[in-house]
């Protein structure tokens, strides 16, 4: 008996794991995802091509004059980005399901919110790359020129992208536990994103045409981002530990 008690104590002092820091885990998970994406390149290549196709098809569908284009480009651009984003987001968690790697994360003491943040930021980077491709194409195809300042467009772009990505990452995690994974994500993402979509489209149009002030819409986007980032972080643990 004594020998057993001794050996148990010895083993306890040997265990060297500790609860890791939040930002350290988030950073490492992000780096890991970027590295994996870079190595496999399966998502990014097809996504880039898909984004290009979307822009071209939209251009065939709508052939406006320069004046008209400023009014509708905001809407077209963000709808195009929305579609590309949904296809991209669908891949977020697939890698974690392969080899059931997600189990390893669940078993560890690492905080689930860190994993979520890393995924969301990774998706943000991913979608931003798509936007960097799509926006210039739009400008070219529609001969776009903005009346309002470019930095405002950039602010709208950042807030809007995060709005799509934060909920998209969360709902992608939800949808992997459903039967029709691919259709489930847009099904639940689109309705909740409607106010954000309204805001990003109207803000962009306001800036491009100079007709209205985009301030309210920018504020709405900021509120949307804050609220849903908080809700996602709070509820993610529930989704991760769902079997």
């Amino acid at each position: 008996m004594t020998t057993e008690a001794m050996s148990t104590k010895a083993t306890r002092t040997e265990a060297i794991g500790t609860a890791p820091g939040f930002w350290s885990i988030a950073r490492r998970s992000l780096v890991k995802d970027l590295r994996l994406e870079w190595r496999s390149k399966d998502a990014i290549n097809s996504m880039l091509f898909f984004a290009l196709l979307v822009v071209v098809i939209f251009s065939f569908g709508f052939d406006p004059t320069a004046e008209e284009s400023r009014k509708i480009a905001g809407g077209l651009l963000w709808v195009a980005i929305l579609f590309a984003t949904v296809v991209a987001l669908g891949q977020t968690w697939t890698r974690e399901l392969r080899n059931q790697v997600l189990d390893a994360y669940r078993l560890s003491p690492a905080p689930p919110q860190a994993l979520f943040l890393a995924k969301a930021v990774g998706n943000f980077i991913f979608v931003s790359i798509l936007e960097v491709l799509m926006v210039p194409l739009f400008v070219v195809f529609y001969n776009l020129r903005s009346v309002g300042p470019l930095w405002q467009l950039l602010v709208v772009g950042l807030l809007a992208t995060w709005a799509l990505v934060v909920n998209g990452t969360f709902f992608a995690a939800l949808s992997i536990r459903t039967r029709s994974r691919e259709i489930m994500l847009p099904l639940i993402l689109f309705p909740i994103s409607i106010p954000a979509l309204l805001a990003m489209v109207d803000a962009t149009t306001s800036i491009l045409t100079g007709d209205n002030s985009p301030i309210f819409w920018i504020r709405l986007l900021a509120v949307y981002d804050l609220v849903f980032t908080a809700v996602s972080l709070i509820l993610f643990e529930v989704v991760l530990s769902a079997e």
Binding site: N167, F170, F171, L174, R177, T178, R179, S180, M184, L187, I188, F190, P191, I192, I194, P195, L198, A199, D202, N212, F216, W217, L220, V223, Y224, V227, F228, V231, L235, V238, V239, A242, E243
Partner: protein, 230 residues
């Protein structure tokens, strides 16, 4: 329980009848639109009842996440389904009203548009419940229920601002625009009647959902004991 239900059902029927009388006969005819406007006495209360039901869904979803109680999940399901039904009434009565008055089927009126978005959100909630696999439906649905309701104020804010920027024909007041006090009487009676109706439907659906859950539990228990006779 059954007696209470029957009593409430009778009261509800009476209220609906009285509300009908109020709306169709007693309330004054609207100056510009005429009798068509009377559909408003069903349009507005339905919208408010739907909103109330989605709030109940939010509470039930939160309760479920905290306590994991099957009753909470049954209530969440019931309130979402009945809420979507009342939303549908709003979305149908709106165009029925708009067409004869303005000649168009749809206007991006604040209430109508917000209701449409709510309808979409909670239909997607019901779809998630349908497509999720196995025992995790209540948990996943509860998170979506919370997301959905948190979105509601943002939806209202966005659409109201959108409307001020792009003015559209407005379907009926409710924002204090030109509703005579006599009309409010009809609105409130019908609101009470619809709220009671919603309560009855939710109660029924709740009991049904609970019964389904109990049935599953019994089956599981039975399969547990099956191994005994070996």
């Amino acid at each position: 329980m059954k007696t209470i239900f029957r009593i409430l059902a009778v009261i509800t029927a009476a209220l609906l009848a009285y509300g009908f009388v109020q709306a169709i006969f007693i309330a004054p005819t609207e100056a510009t639109m005429g009798d068509v406007q009377r559909i408003f006495y069903y349009h507005l209360p339905s919208a408010w009842v739907a909103f109330l039901l989605f709030f109940v869904n939010f509470l039930a979803s939160s309760w479920y996440l905290i306590r994991r109680s099957p009753r909470a999940d049954a209530l969440a399901l019931a309130s979402a389904e009945v809420g979507v039904s009342f939303c549908t009434i709003v979305l149908l009565t709106g165009p029925i009203w708009a067409r004869p008055v303005w000649g168009i089927w749809w206007t991006w009126d604040a209430r109508l548009t917000s209701t449409l978005v709510l309808w979409l959100i909670y239909v997607s909630y019901l779809m998630l419940r349908h497509y999720a696999t196995g025992g995790q439906i209540p948990v996943l649905a509860a998170t979506l229920g919370i997301f959905g309701f948190v979105d509601v104020p943002i939806v209202y804010m966005a659409i109201r601002w959108f409307r001020t920027q792009h003015p559209q024909p407005v379907i009926g007041g409710g924002e204090g625009s030109g509703l005579a006090p006599a009309m409010w009487v009809a609105v409130l009676w019908n609101l009470l009647a619809f709220a009671m109706l919603a309560l009855l439907f939710v109660w029924l659906r709740y009991l049904q959902a609970l019964a389904e859950h109990s049935l599953e539990e019994e089956h599981a228990q039975a399969s547990l004991e099956m191994g005994e006779a070996r």
